[in-house]
Amino acid sequence: MATLLFFGRLGDLAGGVERALGLSTALSVADVIGIIEQSDRLLASALAEERVRYAINGTIVDGEALIEDEDELAFLPPVSGG
């Protein structure tokens, strides 16, 4: 299983921070968003927003990057600390 992580307001839309996704083959981040779109268009459109960054296993990647089973894909909306 791959792990999807939704931070900030994306977690509200996803109904939780973490979600598991079974992958039989490597998929791009864009493909994963496409899968989510089939069941949750609101979340998928929020994930595809330009200001949302992606990280696979803790490294920032672009939408073409591939995710495999056992990987962790995080969706990072604009950050705010301090």
């Binding site: 931070f7 803790g58 990072l76 950050v79 600390g81 301090g82």
Partner: protein, 152 residues
Amino acid sequence: MRERIRIASAPFDPEEEMVRFRAQLADAGAVVSFLGLVRARNAAGAVTALSLQHYPGMTERDIGDALNEAASRWALEAALVIHRIGDLAPAEPIVLVATASKHRRAAFEAADFLMDHLKCRALFWKCETGEGGRSWIEPRTDDYADAARWDG
């Protein structure tokens, strides 16, 4: 440079942390610290709670990178970053940054740089609850402009 990063899920005591920070110094002539507190009001009215999220592992690595950059730009003897996560109440300490150097300028600038990084580049997500309802906070335009001062 001695450095310490602590992501705290429970309240921390800034005074105790500063005593500990100073105790390790051998040759510093300047210590600068910044303490951020949860504001009791925002534009919509009273704030009752603040909740902070981070990405375990990645958040710490990113702050480590920012500390490395600070160490390469300024002659620092030590630097400390403590950042709260979880649920916070108004007036509670949310962030403590401390820097130590031989002379004051390096410590001032490095603390300023680290705070700008923590405000709008480090991996934290902040949700405010209050009179205006519940909302995820984004940095202000000024925060982004402050952080951009150190680029290039």
